[in-house]
């Protein structure tokens, strides 16, 4: 492999890629090139067309026009299989692993070889060697369900390497990782490029992109707005401007505010996850009116289950009260009636009904009450009026309120969900990963909405894997690890390094660990140091 500077032919080139979806040109004459041995970051808001471009390169979509060249040779991929056979592999945000099988079995799955006799030991050794070469710490014999999300991601990378991928496309790889895991991933990516492989790195996080990329390409509204920037010659503000077309607000102003009366009280709650394993082990926490409490945790440490317990979707032991009223272990309707709004983690599967209209989705929590309900009937005019008002107020971009929800972009779907949840006039709002996968503009809108709710006195439990988001919004931060509160901080004392360590279970001497499950209401300010 030749070093990038003298390589005349890029490893991967896309010329004049055009891909139109109804009503939108997702890629409009896009050019992109990836040099051998480089990490090329692709930045852009959601809907900017970067996923479309990568899906075209990886063989999932076919372009309407344009040409793809691999090492200078024009290629047409009919499927991801074609792409991987040509040495181009993509690691998606959502993993495609068989939980009950081992790492090695998953890696071998779908391969032509071994043809007949499966010599697992030999394959395990090969996988182990490959993992060692690139610093991908994972046991080849472990079953997938035993692995953390970060380890599963390593398996996905190994899968591609095992298939001989020379070019790796990583779609938002850091979205699910803790800070320490991100560092580890970066080391892996660097060792891969040192080995002559090339990486396309898709991300929203500007600081990460600047830290890892050799070159940066920015997309906006289906077009490339900056091609091949070198990190040294740019900055986060510059990149943000190119992404959104204006100066992005780095953080939304959070005004100091005295929290009101206690709204949510969780006491000694324990619950199992879907597999019947303990997910919550004696959790206690409080949220007061006009306060945002952030739950910082790496995926799979019980935070999703916590949200489900509070919103009545998962049975538990212990007690959950909202305004003094017990809401746990009843059904979701009970929690809704007691003023619990829920912005769920899964926007498309839980938070909306994809094939129903925007209007039908907006009345989901209001159809039982007047004016939408009229006796047994739904007043169509009232429903449509309400839907139209919410659509206008929250600037939900959709052709009409009759558009099916599945046709909305991620940001607009989230707007719809927030519009609906806020319209229900909640006392408590549980927001889970409210900005995951959203673009800068949409994230900002969500942050504004959350802070506006805080000011109007709603108690907000914000569960997020994005530490920056939690630090920007939360008045207090509880860190969860393996179903327990591993530490509590006030906004003033919160330290990203300490929180990061506690999130990954490494923080017994760092931070201010609070005894497990003993975060009582009185001390739930949490910090040892008093707020300044």
């Amino acid at each position: 492999m030749t070093p990038p500077a003298v390589a005349p032919v890029p490893a991967l080139e896309a010329h004049g890629i055009v891909k139109a979806f109804p009503g939108i040109v997702a890629n409009d004459e896009v050019d992109f090139d990836l040099r051998t041995g480089e990490i090329h970051a692709l930045l852009g808001e959601n809907g900017a067309g970067k996923s479309t471009l990568m899906n075209i390169l990886a063989g999932l979509y076919r372009p309407d026009a344009g040409e793809i060249r691999l090492d200078g040779v024009p290629v047409v991929f009919r499927s991801p299989r074609d792409a991987i056979m040509a040495g181009l592999g993509m690691v998606h945000q959502h993993f495609t692993l068989v939980p009950s099988q081992t790492v090695t079995e998953n890696i071998l799955l779908g391969l032509d070889r071994p043809r007949f006799r499966l010599d697992l030991h030999r394959s395990e050794a090969e996988v182990g060697r490959l993992a060692g070469q690139f610093g991908l710490r994972v046991d080849p014999r472990a079953k997938i369900w035993q692995l953390s999300v970060g380890e599963q991601q390593r398996v996905e990378i190994l899968k591609m390497l095992y298939r001989g991928a020379r070019i790796l496309i990583m779609d938002e790889p850091t979205a699910v990782l803790a800070p320490q895991e991100v560092e580890e991933l970066f080391r892996t990516l660097r060792s891969m490029t040192a080995d002559g492989r090339s990486v396309v790195f898709i991300s929203h996080k500007l600081s990460e992109v600047l830290a890892i990329a050799d070159r940066i390409t920015v997309m906006r509204r289906g077009r490339v707005t900056a091609a091949g920037l070198v990190p040294a010659e740019t900055s986060t503000t510059d990149l943000a401007r190119r992404m959104v077309g204006r100066e992005a607000l780095e953080s939304v102003a959070r005004t100091p505010q005295r929290p009101g009366a206690r709204v949510l009280a969780v006491r000694d709650v324990a619950a199992d996850n879907d597999r019947g394993l303990p997910a919550l082990r004696s959790i206690s926490l409080d949220v007061a009116a006009g306060e945002i409490v952030g739950i910082a945790a790496v995926a799979g440490n019980g935070q999703s289950e916590l949200a489900q317990v509070i919103t009545g979707l998962r049975p538990c032991s212990g007690s959950v009260t909202v305004g003094g009223e017990e809401v746990a272990n009843r059904h979701a309707g009970h929690a809704i009636r007691h003023g619990v709004a829920h912005v769920p983690e899964d926007r498309t599967g839980v938070g909306s009904a994809p094939n129903l209209s925007v209007s039908d989705n907006l009345i989901m929590k209001r159809y039982r009450d007047a004016p939408v309900a009229r006796g047994w009937f739904i007043d169509d005019t009232a429903a449509r009026t309400l839907a139209q008002e919410l659509k206008d107020e929250y600037a939900i971009a959709a052709p009409s309120i009759d558009t099916e929800a599945r046709l909305l972009s991620g940001g607009n779907l989230q707007r719809l969900i927030f519009a609906r949840e806020i319209d229900s006039g909640p006392r408590l709002m549980v927001a889970v990963q409210p900005t995951r996968g959203l673009d800068v503009g949409a994230i900002e809108a969500v942050h504004r909405v959350l802070l506006a709710r805080r000011e109007s006195g709603t108690a907000i439990l914000l569960i997020s894997e994005d530490l920056d988001e939690i630090l920007a919004l939360a008045d207090r931060v509880d860190v969860m690890f393996e179903g327990r509160i591993a530490g509590s901080f006030s906004a003033e004392t919160a330290d990203i390094q300490e929180i990061g360590l506690l999130m990954t279970g490494g923080g017994s001497e760092a931070g201010q660990p609070v005894e497990t499950g003993a975060v009582s209401g009185a001390s739930s300010g949490g910090a040892e140091r008093p707020p300044a």
């Binding site: 109804p22 040779v73 047409v76 009919r78 056979m85 309707g333 909306s352 009904a353 039908d360 739904i378």
Partner: protein
């Protein structure tokens, strides 16, 4: 040349309807080819079918008589399918409904000589309750224990068949024949021909009140699904059970209720058949209405009003098909229609790409 499937993200609303109609036309074309292949004349056959089904007031009436049980069982399937409950037991629920309605006069539940104005509503109720019970069993098993409703409803069809046979051959047998005594006139649904004394033109028209049941049921179901809170919940559950649960809907209860209503509709169909057409309970009271109903529900894309239209089409096919051949061709056409619909379903969701392979590095 390669062929591949790509998900369709942009299908407009009319597309599904257009594809359904296209599938229907395609099925008739393919069936025509098969008819030609076995030496028949497809054009003449189809013209004959149309003539035999819609050629005169008399045959239109006969078509509607055939369509009536299909409408009610078709609605039963469409309602359940709407919630993604695969009730393929409309046949058994139909039979139970026929049995329940018959019990009113044969058990007897009401004494002989009770006027029609009492007998008919009680028979309707009995048919609906019996069919509803047959729907309740798979419903409660699915809701409480997560038992597959497909298996339960399929198997209950055979139980229902044996149950009817037991009564027809045994306790209610008319002197050992596989049928019961004829019902008294009070237990007959009024037919148009019953009014021939007043309006001679109605003579011989056997279309009966059951058709009105079907049309009214379709109208009520449309309003219920499109305009009521309950219907909204059904649509929500049908599209995304997780979202429905999140919205605070008790899905288990809805499953049971929908299954009971579905069974009751099919049961009413059975009642309408014994009371409006056969006037007694007998073995083979249904030539598979409950199974044809599955095709109809699909052809109608689960829309209640479209079920009525599709049922009339199938009523015509069943009636006129018999004019051509008692078994083979009409059943073949039905089968081809079903397969075309399944094929169209794929085309509605995916787009087919043909392309030449340029090069693969």
């Amino acid at each position: 040349m390669n062929l591949s499937l790509e998900p369709r993200t942009d299908a407009p609303r009319w597309f599904a309807t257009a594809m359904t109609v296209a599938a229907f036309v395609f099925a008739l074309t393919l069936s025509g080819l098969i008819i030609a292949l076995v030496g028949g004349d497809p054009i003449r056959s189809y013209l004959h079918i149309v003539g035999a089904a819609f050629g005169s007031v008399g045959v239109i009436s006969d078509t509607l008589v055939k369509a009536t049980p299909l409408i009610l069982t078709g609605l039963a399937c469409a309602l359940a399918f709407r919630m993604r409950l695969w009730n393929i037991g409309a046949e058994g629920q139909f039979l139970l409904g026929a049995w329940g309605a018959s019990a009113v006069v044969l058990a007897p539940i009401l004494p002989a000589g009770t006027p029609a104005i009492v007998v008919i509503p009680v028979m309707m109720l009995a048919g609906a309750v019996a069919g509803g019970l047959w729907g309740f069993i798979p419903g409660i098993l699915r809701a409480r224990l997560g038992v597959s409703e497909i298996i339960v409803t399929l198997m209950l069809n055979y139980v229902a068949l044996s149950w009817v046979q037991f009564w027809v051959f045994g306790p209610w047998s008319e002197g050992g024949f596989q049928q019961t005594d004829a019902f008294p006139r009070e237990a007959w649904l009024p037919r148009l021909t019953d009014f021939a004394n007043a309006v001679p033109a109605l003579g011989g028209l056997t279309v009966h009140l059951g058709l009105i049941f079907g049309i009214v049921a379709a109208a009520i179901m449309w309003v219920a699904i499109e305009r009521t809170r309950w219907g909204y919940e059904i649509r929500l559950i049908g599209d995304s059970p997780a979202a429905a649960r999140y919205a605070g809907i008790d899905i288990k209860r809805r499953i049971v209720v929908v299954f009971v209503i579905s069974g009751a509709l099919a049961g009413l169909g059975g009642m309408s058949e014994v009371s409006g057409v056969v006037h007694r309970l007998q073995d083979h009271i249904s030539p598979g209405y409950g199974f044809t109903a599955i095709i109809i529900a699909y052809l109608a894309r689960f829309g209640p009003l479209r079920v009525v239209v599709a049922s009339i089409l199938f009523g015509a096919l069943i009636l006129a098909g018999r004019e051509i051949q008692p078994q083979g061709i009409p059943a073949m056409i039905q089968g081809v229609i079903l397969f075309s619909l399944v094929g169209a379903d794929v085309l509605i969701r995916y787009r087919i790409r043909f392309e030449r392979r340029l090069a693969t590095a």
